[in-house]
C-alpha cells in the first residue's frame, strides 16, 4: 500500500512537468502578447515592460527561469492584475471556490445517492421514472439557463436571497451552490441507480436476503459499498472540477473564485496567471484521483495494490 502511494507520487512529478511544459509553450504560441492593446505603446515603453517581466529573453531561458520559480512555489506577478502576484490571486480566490465547490459536492453526493438508491429500489415504478426524468433534465439543462431562472425567481421576484455578489455568509452561497450541484446530483443519481440495480441482482444480496436480513440492513451493510464504486470514480475528477470553480457560475453570480482566471488569463495572455492556475488545477486533479483510488480500495476488497 505504502509502496503504491509512493509510486503514484513519483509519477505525479513527470506528469506535472509535462503539463507545465506543454502549457508554457502553448500559451506563448498563441498570437498576441499580454501587453498588446488597442492603443499602441511607444516602443521604448513596450521594451521596458517586456524587460520588467523578462519577456525580452529567449523563450527557452524564460522556460527555465519559470521552472526555477515554480520549484520555489512562486508563480510570479500577474500581467493583467498588476498589483497582485499569482500566488495572492489564487490564495484569495481559492477559499471562495473551495467553499462553494465543497458544499455543492456534499449536496450532490447526499442527494444523488439518496435519489439513485430510491429509484433503484422502486425500479420501473412511477417514482423511478419521475426521478430519472427530473435527473435527465438536470443533466441536459445547462447551468447558464438554470442560474438566471433561479435568480429571477428567488432573488428578484421573491427577494429572499441576493442575486449575486460575494460576502462570506450563507445567503450568498445558496444559489451558486444549488446551480453548481444540480447537474452533478443528477449524474450521480443515474450512476447510483444503475449500479444499485446491478448489485441488488447479484448473488450475495440474494444470500443476505435469504438469511432473513431486513431490507434496510441489506442495503446499508451489503449493497451500498459495492454500489458506490462507479460514483466514487466519477467523484474524483468531478470534485476537482467543482472546487476549482466554474467560469459560468462565477460570472453569473459575480463570485471572485479562481474559475474565471483560467479563461480570462488565457484571453488576456496573462501567461503567469494561466500557468499558475494550470499547475494548481493539475495538482488538484492528481491529488483527487489518488484519494479516489484509496477510497476505491477501501470500498472494494477485490482491489489489491
Amino acid at each position: 500500500m505504502l509502496k503504491y502511494a509512493l509510486n503514484r507520487l513519483a509519477w505525479a512529478i513527470p506528469t506535472l512537468l509535462l503539463l507545465i511544459t506543454v502549457a508554457f509553450f502553448m500559451i506563448r504560441v498563441a498570437p498576441g502578447g499580454p501587453f498588446d492593446s488597442e492603443k499602441s505603446l511607444p516602443p521604448e515603453i513596450e521594451q521596458n515592460i517586456k524587460a520588467k517581466y523578462h519577456l525580452d529573453e529567449p523563450v527557452i531561458q524564460q522556460y527555465f527561469r519559470y521552472l526555477g520559480q515554480v520549484l520555489r512555489f512562486d508563480f510570479g506577478p500577474s500581467f493583467q492584475y498588476r498589483d497582485w502576484t499569482v500566488n495572492q490571486l489564487i490564495a484569495d480566490g481559492f477559499p471562495v471556490s473551495l467553499s462553494i465547490g465543497a458544499l455543492a459536492m456534499l449536496l450532490s453526493f447526499v442527494l444523488g445517492i439518496g435519489i439513485g438508491t430510491m429509484a433503484a429500489l422502486r425500479q420501473n415504478t412511477g417514482l423511478d421514472h419521475g426521478l430519472m426524468g427530473v435527473a435527465m433534465l438536470g443533466i441536459s439543462i445547462p447551468n447558464f439557463v438554470i442560474a438566471p431562472l433561479l435568480i429571477l425567481a428567488v432573488a428578484i421576484n421573491l427577494g429572499w436571497l441576493p442575486s449575486g455578489g460575494w460576502e462570506w455568509n450563507w445567503r450568498n452561497m445558496v444559489l451558486p451552490v444549488i446551480t453548481l450541484a444540480l447537474p452533478v446530483t443528477a449524474y450521480i443519481a443515474r450512476l447510483m441507480r444503475g449500479s444499485m440495480i446491478d448489485v441488488l441482482n447479484s448473488d450475495f444480496i440474494r444470500t443476505a436476503r435469504a438469511k432473513g436480513l431486513s431490507e434496510i440492513t441489506v442495503i446499508r451493510r451489503h449493497a451500498m459499498k459495492p454500489a458506490l464504486l462507479p460514483v466514487i470514480s466519477y467523484m474524483g475528477p468531478a470534485a476537482a472540477g467543482l472546487i476549482t470553480g466554474s467560469v459560468v457560475i462565477e460570472r453569473i453570480f459575480a463570485i471572485p473564485g479562481i474559475g474565471s482566471y483560467f479563461v480570462q488569463g488565457a484571453m488576456n495572455r496573462d501567461y503567469t496567471l494561466v500557468m499558475g492556475v494550470v499547475i494548481f488545477y493539475g495538482v488538484l486533479i492528481i491529488a483527487f484521483n489518488f484519494i479516489v483510488d484509496l477510497i476505491y480500495a477501501w470500498l472494494n476488497p477485490r482491489i489489491q495494490y
Partner: protein
C-alpha cells in the same frame, strides 16, 4: 460510508465557519438597503491597477477620479475647473503655464500637497522606466518626447516648482487642450514617500496615500474596491457620501440583476438584448447619453482591393444605411455618424461628406456608380474579408453591414471572427487585413484625440493612411494658439481625411446605464466622467430639486 460523509461534513463546516468573523467587518449590502452613506457603483471589469501612472482602461479611471485630483478637475457637467491648483496663468505665447496650488490641498495622511509633489509625479509618469501606457499624454510638455525615447533624463522635463505652492509647466507648442490633460490619471500627483516605501504594492488599502475626495479603504479582487471619504480633502465639507464601492462586474446581465435587487445604485452598462424590456419596465431609471467615442470600419490602404481605390472605399461607405443600423441593430439611441470626431466636442464641428445629407436611396445610386468606377459589377463582384473581434454586438453589425453591401452592390464578404488579441495583432501587422472593425474612445475632450489616429506612421494607424496634407494641417494645429484658427485647421484636416475615406464611420457611442432614482448630483456629459464627490441621495422627488439630472 458514514465516515466519508461525516468527514466531508466536518470539512464543509470548517470552511463555512472560518470566515464568519470576516463577514462582520463588512457592511453587508442587503436587498433594498436604503442607506444614504454608501454609494454602490457597478464598474465593469476588474481594474488592472490603481497606480494612476500605470492604470489603463475605463474602470480604473472611474475609481482614480475619486481617489486623486490633478491640477485641474471637472464640474458635474464635465467642464474643466480648478482642482489641486486654485488658479493659473498662461503666458501670452501659450507655452508657459503657472499653477498656484490650493493652500488647503492635503494628502490623505494630512500632509500638504506641494509643488514638488507635482514635479516628482510628472517626471515619474514620463520616465520610460515607469513604463506608463499613457506617458505619451504628456508629450505636449517640453522635452517629454525626448525623455520618452531615452534621449534625455526625466529631470529635464519642462516642469519646475517655483516655490512650495507654485508649479510651472513649459510646453513645446501651445496645446489648446492642455488643461484637459491635467485631469487625466497620467498627470495625477502621487505621494513620493509612501510610493517608494511600498515597493510596487502601492495600490493597497493602508498603503496608498492620495489627494482626492476619497481614499482607498478596501480592495477585494474581482469583488469590489471600497473608498472612504478623505477628511483632509480640500473641499471635504462638500463631499456627502461617506463610502463608495466600485463593484467589478464583467457581466452586464449580472449587473442589471444586482441593480434590480437593490444591491447597486449605479450600473456601468446594460445588456444589449434587454433594451426594449428596460425601456418598457425601468424607463425612469434607464439613462442613455452621447459618449465621446466612434464606431467605424477601417480599410487597409496598403493592400488590395483598397490600395489606390478611393472609388471603391466611397462606394462601400455610401451603401451602408446607418439609420437602419442604429434603429434596428444597435438600438440604444446611437447617433449615425459620417465623421470620425463625434458630435458634442467643444469648439468643433465634425466635417461630414456632402452625401451625409442625401437620402439613402440617393446614396445607394451613387454607391453603384462608384462601385462601377472602381472596376466592379454584378458579374465581376468584389470579394472581401471582413474581420471583427468576438462579440455578439460586433457580429450583428458585421452581418448587417455586409448584407447591405451584398444586396446593393453584390459584394461577396467572408466574415472572420477573431479573438481580441489575435484581432489586434492582425490589425497591427497590416499584412492580411482588408476591412475590419474599429472604434475609438477619446482620451481627452478635444478633436485631436481622434484625428491623431490617422497621422502617417502613427502607432495606431492600422489603416496605413498616408496624406501629407492631412499631417501638415494636424501639426499646424498643434502649433496654433488661437482657438478659431486651430478649429479651422482641424476641421480642414478632417474634411480631407473623410473625403479619402480610409475609414467608414458608422455611429457615435452612447453610454447607457441604470441609476437609482434617489441618486442626485450627477449629469450626463460626453466624457462620461462622474465624480462621487458631487453625488448624494435624496428621497425628495426630482422636480423639486435644485440640481436635476438634465439629459444632454
Amino acid at each position: 460510508m458514514i465516515r466519508v460523509l461525516s468527514l466531508l461534513l466536518v470539512l464543509v463546516l470548517v470552511i463555512a465557519c472560518k470566515p464568519a468573523s470576516e463577514s462582520e467587518q463588512l457592511p453587508a449590502a442587503k436587498d433594498g438597503d436604503m442607506s444614504t452613506d454608501i454609494l454602490r457603483r457597478g464598474n465593469g471589469e476588474e481594474p488592472q491597477t490603481l497606480d494612476p501612472h500605470l492604470a489603463t482602461g475605463v474602470p480604473a479611471a472611474h475609481i482614480l477620479r475619486d481617489l486623486f485630483e490633478g491640477l485641474t478637475t471637472e464640474s458635474m457637467a464635465g467642464e474643466i475647473i480648478p482642482g489641486a491648483a486654485r488658479r493659473w496663468n498662461i503666458s501670452a505665447d501659450g507655452l508657459t503655464y503657472t499653477f498656484y496650488l490650493d493652500p488647503d490641498g492635503r494628502w490623505s495622511n494630512g500632509e500638504p500637497v506641494t509643488a514638488t509633489d507635482f514635479v516628482y509625479s510628472l517626471r515619474r509618469s514620463i520616465d520610460p522606466q515607469t513604463a506608463s501606457a499613457y506617458a505619451s499624454m504628456l508629450t505636449p510638455i517640453k522635452n517629454a518626447s525626448k525623455i520618452l525615447n531615452g534621449e534625455l533624463l526625466p529631470v529635464k522635463l519642462g516642469v519646475v516648482a517655483l516655490d512650495t505652492s507654485t508649479v510651472q509647466i513649459q510646453l513645446h507648442s501651445p496645446t489648446a487642450y492642455f488643461l484637459g490633460i491635467l485631469n487625466h490619471s497620467a498627470t495625477y500627483p502621487v505621494h513620493r514617500a509612501s510610493l517608494e516605501a511600498a515597493e510596487g504594492s502601492f495600490s493597497r488599502p493602508g498603503v496608498m496615500v492620495s489627494n482626492g475626495a476619497y481614499q482607498l479603504n478596501d480592495w477585494k479582487v474581482r469583488s469590489f474596491v471600497e473608498l472612504k471619504r478623505n477628511p483632509d480633502y480640500r473641499e471635504a465639507e462638500l463631499v456627502q457620501i461617506e463610502t463608495v464601492r466600485f463593484y467589478a462586474l464583467a457581466d452586464q446581465s449580472t449587473e442589471t440583476q444586482l441593480f434590480r435587487s437593490g444591491i447597486l445604485d449605479w450600473t456601468n452598462d446594460v445588456p444589449i438584448g434587454m433594451y426594449q424590456w428596460l425601456q418598457e419596465n425601468m424607463a425612469d431609471q434607464l439613462v442613455t447619453s452621447p459618449w465621446m467615442g466612434s464606431y467605424f470600419l477601417g480599410f487597409n490602404l496598403s493592400r488590395e482591393p483598397f490600395r489606390n481605390n478611393k472609388s471603391l472605399r466611397i462606394a462601400l461607405a455610401l451603401a451602408i444605411d446607418r439609420d437602419l443600423l442604429t434603429e434596428k441593430v444597435t438600438r440604444f439611441g446611437e447617433q449615425p455618424a459620417y465623421t470620425l470626431v463625434p458630435q458634442g466636442l467643444p469648439n468643433y464641428t465634425p466635417q461630414a461628406p456632402e452625401w451625409a445629407s442625401w437620402t439613402q436611396a440617393e446614396r445607394d445610386l451613387a454607391a453603384s456608380e462608384y462601385y462601377a468606377r472602381a472596376g466592379y459589377s454584378k458579374d465581376k463582384p468584389l470579394r472581401l474579408e471582413f474581420r471583427y473581434n468576438s462579440s455578439e454586438n460586433h457580429k450583428k453589425i458585421a452581418l448587417a453591414v455586409t448584407s447591405m453591401w451584398r444586396q446593393k452592390l453584390g459584394v461577396q464578404t467572408q466574415l472572420h471572427n477573431e479573438e481580441w488579441k489575435v484581432f489586434l495583432q492582425n490589425r497591427k501587422q497590416k499584412a492580411i487585413t482588408q476591412v475590419f472593425r474599429a472604434g475609438w474612445i477619446g482620451d481627452y475632450n478635444d478633436p485631436s484625440s481622434f484625428l491623431d489616429l490617422l497621422a502617417s506612421g502613427g502607432g495606431n494607424n492600422d489603416y496605413v493612411y498616408n496624406n501629407s496634407h492631412y499631417d501638415n494641417l494636424l501639426s499646424e494645429a498643434t502649433r496654433e494658439r488661437i482657438p478659431t484658427r486651430r478649429r479651422r485647421l482641424l476641421q480642414a484636416a478632417e474634411a480631407i481625411m473623410i473625403a479619402d475615406q480610409p475609414i467608414v464611420p458608422l455611429f457615435n457611442y452612447v453610454t447607457k446605464r441604470l441609476v437609482s432614482k434617489r441618486l442626485r448630483g450627477w449629469r450626463n456629459n460626453i466624457m462620461d466622467h462622474h465624480y462621487s464627490r458631487h453625488m448624494y441621495f435624496s428621497d425628495i422627488p426630482e422636480t423639486q430639486q435644485p440640481v436635476a439630472n438634465e439629459k444632454l
